[in-house]
């Protein structure tokens, strides 16, 4: 996993500083959407056939390939479960997050 730079939350001080249009002013480096997750994918790499289907289907680009095997980026994985659904050998299981 690449090192992520730390980023601060941006709160603009006056309307003058605002862009005209509603558009991204901050950074996803700060906005870690993984906090939304209720269930997490856990990959059993011993069963993995390295097909890359989970990587291809992940709608949040939260799976990357490291040394030919998939790795989940839990900072951004929202736990949708598409990877587990699509895995042809069913080596990804969804595990309840502890609250």
């Amino acid at each position: 996993m690449k090192d992520k730079k730390s980023a601060k939350k941006i709160v603009l001080k006056s309307a003058k500083e605002f862009p005209l249009m509603p558009m991204s002013v901050g950074s996803m480096l700060f906005n870690k959407t993984g906090a939304w997750r209720n269930i997490r994918p856990v990959i059993d790499l011993s069963q993995c056939i390295q097909c890359g289907i989970c990587w291809k289907f992940c709608p949040d680009v939260a799976i990357f390939i490291d040394k030919e095997f998939p790795v989940v980026n839990y900072d951004y994985c929202k736990g949708c479960g598409i990877c587990a659904e699509e895995c042809p050998v069913k080596c990804i299981i969804m595990v309840e997050e502890e609250k």
């Binding site: 309307a15 605002f18 005209l20 249009m21 509603p22 558009m23």
Partner: protein
């Protein structure tokens, strides 16, 4: 070049002369000829624009928004059911500060199914953050389209140009179609500072927390407040080049009038005829036609109407459970003033029932006879 054209084609010629670059539209009676002519212009190369056929008005506006965000000048047109299907995306256009220009042909909302004129379709979009122009002649339609691009692009607020079904959309009039070179001089290409481009990727319209949303809306209102003077200065520039001025309102014999009608759209031109008749009878009547409904030109309307002894607001629309919509707005313009003339509200012509000079005479007689309105709403021409 002078040509006899229908109101719908005046919209098309306006979009053509304004060099719209992307046009996405879905046909609906009574708007069809607007996009019919534009699609022909795109097909035969008269207009170098991308014409996008879509499966609904919701998609038409969505396509315009994407194109506008990418920096294209965009145009569309619709009516009634189509406009209301667009409703969600009207907010996206104004909230996203995308200066789309759209023609809307006023048509009564179903049910009962109707293709005839009234204003409830466009007035239902009152609070979407669009500039609204109500037109009374084909020349005004064409001139307004060209000016609307200028006005919209200056403050990034979309514009709706509104025509009555049939009484304007399908009525043929002589229209002076300006030279392209002169229009180009008046209306330079649209070059937004921020746009969707691969060179500078951004996310637009995404999740906006309570930290920022409020200020975006504050800015939209502040810019909306700058629009009335901009419409006036743009109108004067246009006049210098083309000899025709369009402001926020059109006054007809208001200067010395005892009774001033407040009208909009083609009712405004019928009222001029009624004013002439009344003046022949020795009644000092006048007509104030409101051209720009949003932003509402409070100061202009106050200064003109406060001269009158009586004011009669003619609405071809209704806010159920309240009043005619122009009536509400005109009354609100006088809130907190020390004195103002009695303001009468009349509803007439819903669903395309004709508004004739005699309807307006009836209104005048009622307003002159009574010191104040006898009912919340005075209905004209309804079979009670």
């Amino acid at each position: 070049m002078r040509k006899v054209i229908m109101g719908n084609h005046a919209l098309s010629y306006g979009a053509m002369l304004g060099r719209a670059q992307v046009i996405a539209a879905y046909p609906i009676t009574p708007q069809t000829q607007v996009v019919e002519l534009l699609s022909e212009m795109c097909a035969n190369g008269t207009l170098k624009a991308k014409f996008i056929k879509v499966e609904s008005e919701h998609s038409a506006m969505a396509a315009c928004l994407g194109a506008s965000l990418a920096g294209a000048r965009t145009f569309t047109a619709t009516s009634a059911q189509g406009l209301t299907l667009m409703h969600e995306l009207l907010h996206w256009a104004s909230g996203g500060r995308l200066p789309v220009v759209m023609g809307n042909i006023n048509r009564a909302m179903a049910p009962g199914w109707s293709i005839w004129s009234d204003q409830n379709d466009s007035l239902s979009q009152r609070d979407t953050g669009w500039i609204q122009f109500y037109c009374s002649s084909n020349q005004e339609v064409l001139d307004t389209v060209i000016q609307a691009f200028r006005v919209s692009e200056k403050f990034h607020i979309p514009s709706m140009i509104i025509l009555d079904a049939f009484t304007l959309s399908h009525t043929y009039e002589v229209v002076d179609i300006p030279d392209q070179a002169k229009v180009d001089e008046f209306l330079p290409p649209y070059k937004p500072q921020i746009r969707l481009t691969p060179e500078e990727p951004r996310a637009f319209g995404g999740l906006t927390s309570p930290d920022h949303y409020f200020e975006l809306r504050y800015k939209l209102q502040k810019d909306m407040e700058k629009v009335p003077p901009l419409i006036e200065t743009t109108g004067k520039e246009y006049q210098n080049l083309f000899g025709r001025y369009l402001g926020l309102v059109e006054e007809y014999y208001c200067q010395d009038a005892d009774l001033i009608f407040v009208t909009s759209g083609t009712t405004g031109s019928t009222t001029k005829v009624a004013v002439d008749h009344l003046r022949q009878q020795g009644i000092k009547a006048g007509n104030l036609r409101i051209r720009v409904f949003r932003p509402f030109p409070f100061a202009t309307i106050r200064s003109i109407l406060s001269r009158a002894k009586k004011v009669a607001v003619v609405d071809r629309n209704i806010s159920y459970g309240h009043h005619g919509i122009f009536y509400q707005e005109v009354k609100s313009a006088f809130y907190g003033q020390n004195s103002h003339p009695p303001i009468f509200g009349f509803i007439t012509g819903l669903g395309g029932r004709d508004i004739t000079p005699s309807s307006l005479q009836e209104i005048a007689y009622y307003a002159l006879k009574n010191d104040k309105p006898q009912e919340e709403i005075t209905w004209i021409g309804v079979r009670k």
